[in-house]
């Protein structure tokens, strides 16, 4: 019996010939991602850091993104402590405020590569399956322990195989696909599992795959992966990664799967995840006409140039509805600059949108666009939990950049198929 992607990666990192689901293995990940929470992580282990130092200067990837620029004395002090830690221990991969959302930065800087194992103290660390890496979220305490020892345990997961057949229709995007899947199998439908995507995946760019893998945790998955193909290779080449820099891992043909799911892409329509769970998915047609006060386009889920382009095409030469605030949140500085060069930022400004600095912005409710009681936000982010955007009496809806842009023009949930050419 062969091995799945997760089994192969975990066997490789545990120095074992074969591993099976439920087995506990000890691994040394290539990288440990932490962000603003690095301050809390290092404060747990100050005496140990003094005595033993960090396991390796190359292990941590630290990105300041969650509350940037600092919103208070407290968050400013966190950032200051992190910068001092980085200097003191000579941490190689540190990205200060403004470089981007951590997950985008990991991929863009070539730190999340095919066949690599990454862990991070952020639940959306699962995003790097977009380029064929195995990546998963852990908590701060585990990040602290990894910082000192470079190792941790992982349970070998069961694997779900998802077959995608056909082609997405006009006005339907990767975001609609993943929301459709989560709506179908529920917010716990892939709990503890590794998810592998198969079938007609050539239509999905690395950006699209990022959106899909990013939301894997919203169905409980440990990791999600699209296997390395020409699309991955050409993306990696575009960011300066050589073929010899990575070693792609593929599952065996006779691997054993826990479950197999099939989706016909032609049947998928634009959808919205309604409050207060990501699996509360309805079609845009069902939700059309609902008043929206804030629209958010961007984040680590949908903040790449291709997403911004889809939105700008809809907003070009138009104005955001007077009842709506439209916030644009590019996922990185590189994306921001590309969007600027392509004239997308001009379109947004002319449409009366507000451009936020590349970071997490209002997604987790800390600043830059929190909601008031009774308000509704339609967002391209990944979570619509009650209180997520700073107010427990507000509602968050999730959709594709096209649906959010179309809605920004009317002030009501709008089917993007009505406004795209």
């Amino acid at each position: 019996m062969g091995m799945t992607f997760a089994e192969k990666i975990l066997a490789k990192y545990a120095n074992q010939k074969k591993v099976v689901p439920s087995q506990i293995v000890t691994v040394h990940p290539d990288h440990l991602l932490t962000h603003d929470n690095t301050a809390a992580i290092i404060s747990k282990i100050n005496p140990e850091l003094e005595e033993y130092g960090v396991f390796s200067k190359k292990l941590p990837v630290i990105v300041l993104d969650h509350v940037i620029p600092a919103a208070s004395e407290k968050t400013a002090t966190n950032h200051k402590n992190i910068r001092e830690f980085v200097k003191r221990f000579g941490i190689k991969n540190f990205f200060d405020i403004g470089v981007g959302v951590c997950h985008q930065v990991v991929v863009e800087k070539g730190l999340g590569l095919p066949g690599k194992l990454l862990l991070g103290s952020d639940s959306h660390t699962c995003s790097y399956g977009a380029v064929g890496a195995f990546s998963s979220g852990i908590d701060r305490t585990e990040a602290a322990s990894l910082m000192l020892t470079g190792e941790t345990w992982l349970k070998v997961p069961n694997t779900i195989k998802i077959n995608l057949r056909g082609k997405l229709s006009r006005g339907v995007y990767a975001k609609d696909l993943i929301l459709h899947i989560i709506g179908d199998i529920s917010a716990s439908g892939a709990n503890y599992c590794s998810v592998e995507y198969y079938g007609d995946v050539k239509q999905f760019s690395v950006d699209d795959r990022f959106t899909v893998c990013n939301m894997g945790v919203e169905m409980g998955a440990k990791n999600s992966v699209f296997f390395v193909d020409d699309i991955t290779r050409s993306y990696l080449k575009s960011i300066g990664i050589k073929h010899s820099d990575y070693d792609a891992v593929y599952p065996d043909k006779d691997a054993s799967y826990f479950k197999e799911l099939n989706y016909k892409l032609d049947d998928i329509v634009p959808v919205v995840a309604c409050p207060h769970t990501v699996d509360n998915v309805k079609t845009v047609t069902e939700m059309e006409g609902l008043d929206i006060q804030q629209c958010l386009i961007g984040t680590c889920t949908n903040g790449r140039v291709s997403d911004l382009k889809i939105a700008a095409d809809i907003l070009k030469d138009k104005k955001v509805h007077p009842n709506v605030r439209l916030l644009i949140l590019p996922a990185s500085k590189t994306i921001y600059k590309d969007a600027l060069n392509e004239g997308l930022i001009d379109v947004f400004i002319d449409a009366d949108a507000v451009i936020l600095p590349p970071g997490c912005g209002p997604c987790l409710g800390a600043h830059q666009g929190c909601l008031a009681p009774g308000e509704r936000c339609l967002s391209t982010a990944n979570r619509n939990f009650k209180g997520r955007m700073g107010c427990k009496d507000a509602e968050i809806y999730l959709a594709s950049p096209a649906t959010v842009a179309a809605t920004a023009l009317t002030g009501k949930i709008t089917d993007p198929r009505k406004v795209i050419n």
Binding site: I24, D139, T141, S188, K392
Partner: protein
Amino acid sequence: MRIWRYGDNVNTDQLFPGKYTYTCSTAEEIKPHLLEDLDPDFAKKVQQGDIILGGKNFGCGSSREQPVVGLKAVGIKAVVAESFARIFYRSAINQGLILIECPEAAKSYSGGDEINLYVDKGEIKVGDRVFAFPKLPEEIIAIRDAGGLLNYTRERLKNR
């Protein structure tokens, strides 16, 4: 002992709102905000030895560990649920908080039932009904029994 009962998909924002993630890290800072948006009574009335009973996918969402740190600090004896989200599950091991994944037990509870735990035996008694749950692997019990992952790591570093 009180049983705090909640439904399916209790998420980390309900257990501890994200807006406090970068301003509250210590147990004392976390305690007053525990379950703030889910059950405003909880933080005021919770007592040492209480049990939380959840449905499916308890603890889904963010990797933030404040919910677990807080529940441990206020003395929650265990969280019993039909199923848990994986980062929350790891986090509980890391803080030494006992989680019991036992759908039969979680579903069988009705108001007024007493819950008794026999963690070492892998048994839980709800009212007069006894249910078995799978015990954790030895490697994981060692972390929990050391009082959490950092204590475990400190010991290992010392003996290296």
